[in-house]
Each structure stands twice: as structure tokens, then as C-alpha cells.
């Protein structure tokens, strides 16, 4: 091997710590982008394949009870490929012998073996429960601490309990897909319904279409036909849902989130490239003498350029060696995590060629680009300068003939110190050293600040986004102000329920609400979307709508409604005063839009009309199925206790209670779902912060290395270990503090950007941004800790230097 290549090998091998730092700098960015690109590919591919593999229903009809004949009629409808009927009802369950009740959605099958729509996947034990046996969906295991073979207690409407053993665990990727708020499922056979005192009737139909499984308009048309048909047969359809076969209901949300992660991944690549640039620049600085000697003995610019290029490529190759397999594993891990959170399956571990290509391209190109400038300037250096030992490269102290010039920043800092001193404010000189040292290597400072600031801004923005999402959920919660929601299986008179609930200690108010569902039609009478109309009393105190336009409902409104913003998806220019055509109970009606409000509705358009009118429509004047109660305390735990108490209270008195639920339950579930998303973002933010901290460590290490002589001087004139370490750590803290100030500024556009992307992905509407001091406070603490941690190692190295090394420099 030629001597120069031997040198390259030694450069790589001899200083292992430096090699590791460079390799790690490259690896961070390559790993991040590899993980995200791989996960993106795996998820976007597997999500729809896995979803479609389970024969998801294109139309779901939620109805009052129907029998096998009605199912036959559905199956025979034109355009229907297949249809299955089930009975879905919720029950409270607990592990026998324990106290904690959990609500499960019970799904009764007529024939598990004939399951062709919304297929169940066997995971454990038996997948076909016999009479008085139950099979759980895997998500239920997160809510009920139960194993196959254990016995569960099921609470009946009269408060008595029945027991059934858990015989198996299945996965149902289709049924709860797209519904963040769905309860976990349990499966029984229809033969168990009598035991559970449930009517042996179906209340859901799951339908696949013959053709056009990916044409949502076609699916809606079939759905509307089916609804008409059922209602004409006297089977009231409460709600319909439409889904495409190859489009997971959450695909767009997941893709949007992955898009954000991808953007953050690219950012990390940028940040790591600045880290690489810094490290390589310092490496070249350390090698100036070598370059001088090489040139002295005849080495040409091009040869030096080639040597260092090969060195950089070797670093890149080493980084790729580590990150390609790790990135592949990480991508699969992330995909697996997301898939388990969203209940779909990935199709096994594999190398994603696109992710691999991206990793290799980033791994080779980024170090090359980042290192090009230092390598070119290093190879161009004159022998004289290379050998002169001018290694400090102090940008604030011009070299050569310009030596008598001082930069404006130094002049400003000195002037500032003098002005303060003249007012009696003196800074200790060691701190002045730290302060002024900060600004000596400006290029390096800018790169370090860039990484730390970006990390900080994203970190703060993630907290703001979290606050924004929570605030929005909170404001959405104003549509559900009730402390306890009490639903019955039959309507009861308002006055009767009011008299009853007022006997329950802690209940201070009650409202009866009604509900009606229909379809929103276009001008041609084609079904556009489901519409669910809530009917609270016009003077309800349990709803505080976020009106975008128009007004809220009045008691005397007839065929007037307030629409959710989702309507903009179908009528972009809709205004209060416009008419919309609805199909309710098979009849087409024109309703006047009186207002438009903000809401999250992933299952169609939501609307509000006064109870006074809806109750007339439903022929349920002064009666209701659903009651909203106000308690004197609004804590979740109090609400839970009251819900349980009310449930028991009404069951004992013979009322057909369907469910009594804490008002915050739905909201908390939504918040938890959002928090999962926020955790993703936070992981990325922490990753950027780690890159920032690494950048700072590298910078401080290089600074210490270059200021060995100065540190030795301070030692010579009395600086002990503590003083030397303080000097280095203070510089780190100054950089951290500057980055914090910059991060505050940058966090504002980042917050807007992230909030908008996330809210559009999750809520399909832009939402008002909320700023929280929490992110700022935590980041301030964190950046200080990171700064200290990042500076400790270089500071310790600095404190270990002896002045003999100073003299060795001379």
C-alpha cells in the first residue's frame, strides 16, 4: 500500500474517539431518515393490504333489531357481494373476583365459520366461541387483565351478573378501524344472547360491494339503497358508515403523520450534516501540520484532496455499515409499533429498497457535501501556514497583515463590558473569557446554534402543538359538558328521569337529548355523506358550540340546523341561510343552515337542531333515550363514581339502562389517542435535541482542543480544576442560552406549521394555535442540562491538561 493510503488508514484507526464521533454524526442522520423512510414505505404498503386482506365491509348499517330474513334481503340487493349480520351491544365486564368494571362492545355472530366480511384473525386459543364462551379482541387485553382460560363476569341490565370463560383471542383489524373512540371488542355466538338477556336479533349489517370497492361514491349509493330498503321494511337505520376496500380509514392521517416525521427526519439529516461539517473541519485543522509536511515533501493539492476524500468516504462507509441494518430494524420496529397502535398487521420484516437507497445516498452525499469545503480549503493551505502551527483559526483574530484589526463583535463586547464596568457592574474575568470565547469560532457557533435551536424550536413547538390539540379537544369537549351520559334502551319521560336523578346525591341538573340520522344529498339527490343530528334543548347549558358562522339553534327553529365544518368538504361555499337537502327516514327534506361550527367528525357531517323540533320528528315529545346529567363535582373520578352509582340506581328500579358513562371518558380517550401522536413528535424532537447536544459536545471538544494553550495559561496563573471546568461549561451554557432565545423565536412558525399539518391530518380543519409555557420551561431546563452535560467531558479534558502541554506548543 502506498504511504499516503497507509496514512489514511492510520487517521481512521489511531484516533478511535474522533472516528467514532464522525461516524456517529453521520449515522444519526442516516439512521433517522432510514427508519422513517422504511416505516413510511412499510406502513403505506402494508396498511391497505392488511386492511383489505380482512375483507372489510364497505357499508356498515347500524339499525334496530332485524332477523335473518332482512339479512337475506340485504344479501340479495343489487350490487351487494356479501353481507353479514351481527348484534353489537355493550356490557360491563370484570375478571371474576375483581372490582374494576370495563365496558366492552360485545359482538354476537350467527356463524363464526361462515365469517366472510370483517374477518377475524386467530391469535390464541379457540376463535369460535361455543355457547356461553367469549373470545376477546387483542386490544381488550390492554383494558381487562385477563388470560385465556380466565372467567369474566358480565353485568346484565338488572345488575345481576353472568360468567363466561375467555376461550381465545382474535384480531379484528376492520371493525374498529378509523374509530379512535371505539371500545374494545368481545365476541360471542348468537346462542349466548339469551344467557346475556339480549334479544336474538341483529343490529348491524356489514356489507361488501360487488364492484367499485374503491369508489366511495358508488359505495354510498349502495349504502343509501340498502338503507331505503331496510327502512321500507320497517327496520330503522340509525347510522351508516362507508369505507373503501383498499383504503384504511386512518390512512390519510397516518400518512400525514409520517409526512411530518419524514420532514423531521430530513431536518435531522441537515442537523447531522452541520455536525459532520464541524467535526471534519476540526479534523482538517488538526491535520494542518500533516498537510504541510505532505506538501513539503512534494504532495500535490489533488493528492491531498483525494486522501481526505477517501477518509471521509471511509467514515461514511463505516456509518452505513452500522446504520443500514439498524435503520432497517428501526423502520420495522416503528412500523410494528404504529400498526399495533392502529390495529393492523405488517407483512413481516424486510429490507425496503427505497429506504436503503435513501440511506446510502444520504450516507455518502451528506458527509461529502459537508466535508467538501474543509477538505478543499485544507488541501489549498500553504506550506508556511500549515507548518506555522496556526491551528487556532480564530476568526475573531485576523491573521497575518490584518492582525491589528478587531472584529465589530469583539469591539462591541469590550465596549459593553466597559460601559457596565463604568456603572459599577463588573463581570468576573473567567466569565468574560467564556462569553467572548463563544463568539470566536463563528462558523462553528452558527452550525452549533443551528442544531440546538432547531432541536429546541421543534421541542417547544411539539409542546405547543400538544397544548393546541388538547385545547381543541377541550373546546370540542364543550359539546359534551355533561358529567354523566345516561342512555336507555327505551325512551323515558323527561320529568320521570329528572325526579329519579335528583334523588341521587350529587346530581344537580339534567337534560334530555334526542338524535336523528340521515344522509346529506347533493343537488342531484345523490348521497354525499351521513349526517347525524343531535337535538339538545335550545337553551342547553351542556353545550358551548364553537361557531364559525351564523347562529346557534333556537327553540322555535323548524327544519333548521347548525352544521359542522365537515360540510365544507361537500359545499365549500355554504353560508348560513343556504338550504341543504337531507334524507331522513327515506324522505328528502330541505333544511336551512343557520350556523356553521367547528367539530371533529371523522364519520360524516354532524349537525345540531333543537330538541323541541327533533322530539316532534321522532314522536318522542317530552321523552328521550339519552339524558345528560350535571353533577356538583366535575372530576373524572367523581364522574366515574356517579356513572356507576346511577347505573346501579336505575337498574335496581327496573329501568333499561344501556350505558351510564362519565362525560370525560370520551374526551380522555381522544386525548390519549392524540398523546400517542404527540409522543411520536416528541421522540423526533428529542432526537433533534440529542443531535444538537452532540453538536455542542463536538464543538466544545474542538474548542478545548484548539484552546489547549490558553487553558494551560489559565492553569499557570492560578486556575484550579473548578475554574477551568467552569470556563468551558459556562461557554456551553452561553451557547445553550443563545440557542434558547433563538428557539423561542423559531418555535412560533414551527408551532403554526406543525399545528396546521397535524390538525388538518387529524381534525381535517385548521385550529387556533395555543402557546404553553411548559415547552419553554422544560426546554430551558433541558437545554441547560444538555449544555452542561455536553460540556462536561470537554471540560474534564481541559482540566486534565497540564501546562507542560502549553510549553510543548511553543
Amino acid at each position: 500500500m502506498r504511504p499516503r493510503w497507509i496514512k489514511v488508514f492510520h487517521d481512521l484507526w489511531d484516533n478511535k474517539a474522533r472516528t467514532l464521533l464522525v461516524v456517529f454524526s453521520i449515522a444519526v442522520g442516516v439512521f433517522s431518515i432510514g427508519v422513517i423512510a422504511g416505516a413510511y414505505q412499510i406502513i403505506s404498503n402494508d396498511m391497505s393490504i392488511s386492511y383489505a386482506a380482512n375483507q372489510p365491509a364497505n357499508v356498515e348499517l347500524r339499525t334496530v333489531g332485524f332477523n335473518q330474513d332482512v339479512l337475506g334481503s340485504i344479501q340479495n340487493t343489487h350490487g351487494v357481494l356479501d353481507a353479514e349480520a351481527r348484534r353489537v351491544f355493550n356490557m360491563r365486564v370484570r375478571v371474576a373476583g375483581t372490582e374494576k368494571w370495563t365496558t366492552l362492545d360485545m359482538v354476537a355472530f350467527e356463524d363464526f365459520e361462515a365469517n366472510t366480511v370483517n374477518l377475524l384473525t386467530a391469535l390464541q386459543g379457540d376463535v369460535i366461541p361455543k355457547k356461553r364462551e367469549v373470545v376477546l379482541e387483542r386490544d381488550a387485553l390492554n383494558h381487562v387483565d385477563v388470560q385465556v382460560g380466565n372467567v369474566l363476569e358480565f353485568q346484565l341490565q338488572d345488575g345481576s351478573t353472568k360468567t363466561m370463560p375467555v376461550v381465545g383471542v382474535v384480531q379484528d383489524t376492520a371493525m374498529g378501524a378509523g374509530d379512535f373512540l371505539a371500545s374494545p371488542y368481545a365476541y360471542v355466538s348468537m346462542s349466548s344472547l339469551q344467557y346475556l338477556r339480549q334479544p336474538e336479533l341483529f343490529n348491524r349489517a356489514y356489507v361488501t360491494v360487488e364492484t367499485g370497492g374503491d369508489d366511495i361514491r358508488h359505495i354510498r349509493v349502495i349504502g343509501a339503497d340498502l338503507k331505503d330498503k331496510l327502512e321500507k321494511n320497517g327496520t330503522r337505520v340509525i347510522r351508516t358508515r362507508f369505507s373503501e376496500t383498499y383504503e384504511h380509514p386512518l390512512a390519510s392521517t397516518v400518512n400525514a403523520i409520517l409526512g411530518i416525521l419524514m420532514a423531521l427526519g430530513i431536518l435531522i439529516v441537515f442537523l447531522s450534516s452541520s455536525l459532520i461539517a464541524n467535526t471534519l473541519s476540526a479534523l482538517l485543522n488538526q491535520h494542518l501540520r500533516h498537510i504541510g509536511v505532505i506538501k513539503l515533501v512534494g504532495g500535490r493539492k489533488r493528492q491531498i484532496f483525494e486522501m481526505y476524500l477517501v477518509l471521509i468516504m471511509s467514515f461514511a462507509a463505516l456509518a452505513l455499515l452500522i446504520t443500514v441494518p439498524l435503520g432497517g430494524q428501526g423502520a420495522y420496529g416503528l412500523a410494528l409499533f404504529i400498526s399495533s397502535e392502529l390495529n393492523f398487521n405488517v407483512l413481516g420484516y424486510r429490507i425496503v429498497p427505497m429506504a436503503l437507497l435513501i440511506q446510502v445516498a444520504v450516507g455518502l452525499m451528506v458527509p461529502l457535501i459537508a466535508g467538501l469545503s474543509p477538505v478543499i480549503s485544507g488541501s489549498r493551505i500553504t506550506v508556511l501556514r500549515a507548518l506555522s502551527g496556526d491551528l487556532t483559526g480564530d476568526e475573531s483574530q485576523p491573521q497575518g497583515q490584518q492582525q491589528t484589526r478587531v472584529s465589530w463583535l469583539d469591539r462591541m463586547l469590550i465596549r459593553l463590558t466597559r460601559i457596565l464596568a463604568s456603572r459599577g457592574i463588573h463581570f468576573p474575568r473567567p466569565f468574560i473569557i467564556s462569553l467572548r470565547n463563544t463568539f470566536r469560532r463563528r462558523g462553528r457557533l452558527i452550525l452549533t446554534l443551528f442544531t440546538l435551536t432547531m432541536g429546541g424550536a421543534i421541542f417547544i413547538a411539539v409542546f405547543n402543538v400538544r397544548a393546541t390539540l388538547h385545547a381543541y379537544i377541550g373546546s370540542i369537549g364543550k359539546y359534551f359538558v355533561a358529567d354523566v351520559t345516561l342512555d336507555f334502551d327505551q325512551p323515558y319521560r323527561l320529568r320521570e328521569i329528572e325526579q329519579m336523578v335528583m334523588q341521587v346525591n350529587g346530581v344537580v341538573g339534567m337534560e334530555g337529548w334526542q338524535f336523528v340520522s340521515g344522509e346529506l344529498l347533493d343537488v342531484n339527490g345523490e348521497v354525499l355523506e351521513n349526517i347525524n343530528i343531535f337535538g339538545p334543548p335550545a337553551d342547553s347549558v351542556l353545550i358551548e358550540p364553537l361557531l364559525v358562522k351564523g347562529r346557534w339553534i333556537h327553540a322555535d327553529d323548524v327544519r333548521k340546523l347548525a352544521l359542522s365544518e365537515a360540510a365544507y368538504g361537500y359545499f365549500p361555499n355554504i353560508e348560513p341561510g343556504d338550504q341543504v337537502t337531507l334524507k331522513i327516514d327515506g324522505r328528502e327534506e330541505d333544511w336551512e343552515v343557520i350556523g356553521i361550527f367547528k367539530f371533529v367528525d371523522r364519520e360524516g357531517v354532524l349537525a345540531y337542531a333543537p330538541y323541541e323540533y327533533i322530539s316532534q320528528m321522532n314522536n318522542l315529545a317530552n321523552r328521550s333515550y339519552s339524558f345528560r346529567l350535571i353533577t356538583e363535582n366535575h372530576e373524572r373520578s367523581y364522574q366515574n363514581a356517579k356513572a356507576e352509582e346511577l347505573d346501579k340506581f336505575f337498574r335496581e328500579r327496573g329501568f333499561k339502562v344501556r350505558v351510564a358513562q362519565a362525560g370525560r371518558a370520551t374526551l380522555d380517550t381522544a386525548v390519549e389517542s392524540l398523546d400517542t401522536l404527540v409522543v411520536f413528535l416528541l421522540i423526533m424532537a428529542i432526537l433533534t435535541a440529542v443531535v444538537g447536544a452532540m453538536g455542542l459536545t463536538g464543538t466544545m471538544g474542538m474548542n478545548v482542543l484548539e484552546r489547549t494553550r490558553e487553558i494551560g495559561i489559565t492553569r499557570a496563573i492560578g486556575a484550579d480544576d473548578r475554574a477551568v471546568m467552569s470556563m468551558v461549561i459556562s461557554e456551553g451554557l452561553v451557547i445553550g442560552a443563545i440557542s434558547f432565545v433563538l428557539a423561542i423565536i423559531l418555535s412560533i412558525p414551527f408551532t403554526y406549521l406543525l399545528s396546521t399539518i397535524v390538525s388538518l391530518a387529524v381534525f381535517e380543519t385548521p385550529i387556533d394555535v395555543i402557546y404553553t409555557f411548559m415547552g419553554y420551561v422544560i426546554w430551558f431546563g433541558l437545554v441547560l442540562v444538555l449544555s452542561v452535560v455536553a460540556s462536561i467531558l470537554p471540560a474534564r479534558n481541559a482540566a486534565r491538561l497540564t501546562i507542560r502541554e502549553v510549553l510543548a506548543y511553543e
Partner: protein, 389 residues
Amino acid sequence: MKPPRSNPSTARGARPTIDSARKIPPESDAMIQLHDVVKTFSNAAGEFTVLKGLDLKIKRGEFVSIVGKSGSGKSTLLNMVTGIDHPSDGQVVVNDVDIYTNFTESQRSKWRGRNLGIVFQFFQLLPMLTLLENVMLPMDYVDMYDFNKRPERAMDLLKLVGLEKFANKLPVLVSTGQQQLAAIARAMACDPPLLVADEPTGNLDTRSADTIIQLFETFVSQGKTIVLVTHDPSITSRTHRNIIISDGELIDETISRALPLLRHRHMLEFTKLVEERVYRPHETIIPRDQHVDYFFMIRKGGVEVILQGKKKDHIVSRLGENEFFGEMELLRGGKSIANVRAGGQPVEVLALPRADFIRVMNESPITAEALGKIVQKRLEEHQIADYRR
């Protein structure tokens, strides 16, 4: 100008002071004492000893120069004194403190800040601080003087070195001479009793160098001890003592003063070969008309050179410390023409065997020539001719 130390109860370094913790009983007037100091370095090629058992004592108030060729060990010696490096063996006592026993590097730094000032060849001012701030820095590190008084003291020191107008300038904006003056002011910031300088004028023009030596002389006159490494003969001539180090060993100062033109390696050889002799008052050292077998250098006391006249003996010259005798006979051959005896006090001399003296003179024609001139001069001064020829 005695520095009022900051209040011990409030000062950061208010713990039991490292100085008192390792204080050893003061030995008379010694500022620096080296006892059998050995320094060995190791590298891939093996071990090599840079300092080979040095013994040295420098008194308080002395102005001492250390000279030696590159690689002779002078910087290592200086590092031993300043606590910058660690001896492999032996003891170093500075200002009555054994600085290498139970002292951490960190504690030694703090001790150094309080007890000695260091001046470097390349000034080593911190480039990001103004001259004033550079001078204040040691006070901050060792917490001397009240915080608000430090600017005033630093300014006084800058005035002392004539740099008050440049106090708020960065080092890069003043001349190299001014930088060294500022470095001296910084070294004196904590009013240390000892100033150590490593070639302080090596990088300066003659005028600046002279200013600095004058400053040193002022400090010495105020009772400071100054030890400096230099190559400049104009400086060594102005110091009280000139310590020569060669190949890691100290040259006997009597030899170096008696034979300043001799190569250092020969001086070192002589140092090893000479035997010390003490003669009582008026005791004969070289009798007349005898073969002379030694070359003598006077360490302490004086000798009388007595010639036999036609009528009576008479003293032709009196030689004092660092002078030599016996060279005429050794260089010119023959028997002694004069009787050399101790003076009125006991005399300590270093006696070098003839063979070694002759061999070295053959190897060092410059010294031989210089000695020849001295012989000639002595003969002429005494107006005596060798009547035996």
C-alpha cells in the same frame, strides 16, 4: 506594595490553605530548594532522564538566570520550580512549601497563582481579554483583593509597566514588547514573592528587552526573587547568579564563572572531575619549583601568589572567588614559578587533575587561547619574566 488578601472568612479559598497544609520548616533564606530532583520521560524509544539528580538552592531576593542549550533540561528544571511538571524523584520546596507532596494539579495551580508569577517567551496573554482584564484574571482565580478593588490594582500595575493608555486594548492591538510588559504586570498581579520567566526577552527587540530587565531589577530591589531562563548574555551579566544546566545536570557555578568560554559539556565534565579542597589560612597550595598537578578554581575565600624575589618574597597578586590558578604551569609546562597559598581566611578550591585539564584544553582551543591570554596578561601585569628560561 503588600497585597491585602481578601477576608479569609469570605474568600472562596478560605479552607485551610494549601500553603499552610504543606508548609515545611523554613530553611534560612531559601526561596527555592531542589533536592536530588530526577525527571525521567518515557516514550516508544524507551526512557530517558532529563534531570539527573539536581540539587539547587536559590535564596530570597536573588536574581538568577538559568542557561543551557536546547534539550539541556532548563525548561524541565523551570517546570519543576513552577509546579508545572512533576519530578520522578526528589523534592522541590518553593517558598517553604513542598509542592509535590500531597498536592493535586488543581491545588498546585491555585498555589501557583498566589505564590509565583510566570512570564512566557510568547507572552501568552489571553487574546479575548483586554490588557486590563488579563491582569485582573489571576486575582479572580485565586480570589485575592476585593472584587471591586481588582480593576484599580490592575491599572496600577499597568501604570508601573507604562501601559495605562492601552489598558482597554486587546493584546493583538499592541506591540510585542507591550504584550510582554502586560504579561509581567499579570505575573505580578497577586504580588507573588517569586517571578519565573522563560526567555522573557527572547522575542523582543533590544530596547524592549532592556525595559523588561530594568523592571526585573526593580522588582528584585523590592525583595522579589526572580528566576529566568535566557540565552542572552547581556541579561546573564545583570543577574546575581547564572546557573548552567547541561545534559540534565547543573554545572558547578565556580567552574562556569571561572571558565565561561568553556563548552557546557566540558564544564559538566569538570564539575564531575574536580575535587573540593579546603586550606587553612596561609597554608601553601602550590609550592614554588614544584610540578603542578592540578588546575585550581577558587570557590570561597582568596589566595595569595608569592614570588621569590632576589632579596625577599613578595605577594604579586591576590586571587578571589571564581578565579583560577595553576594554569601557567599546566599550559606552559615546567615547575611552578610562584608559591600559592591561602589568604588570611580558610579557602575552598576546586582542584582539577592535570591530565583532564590538558585534555579538555586540547579539545577546546578557544578556552585554551583565552587562558593563554590571561596567563600573558598576568605575566605582564606582574612584570615578571620567567627567569628560568
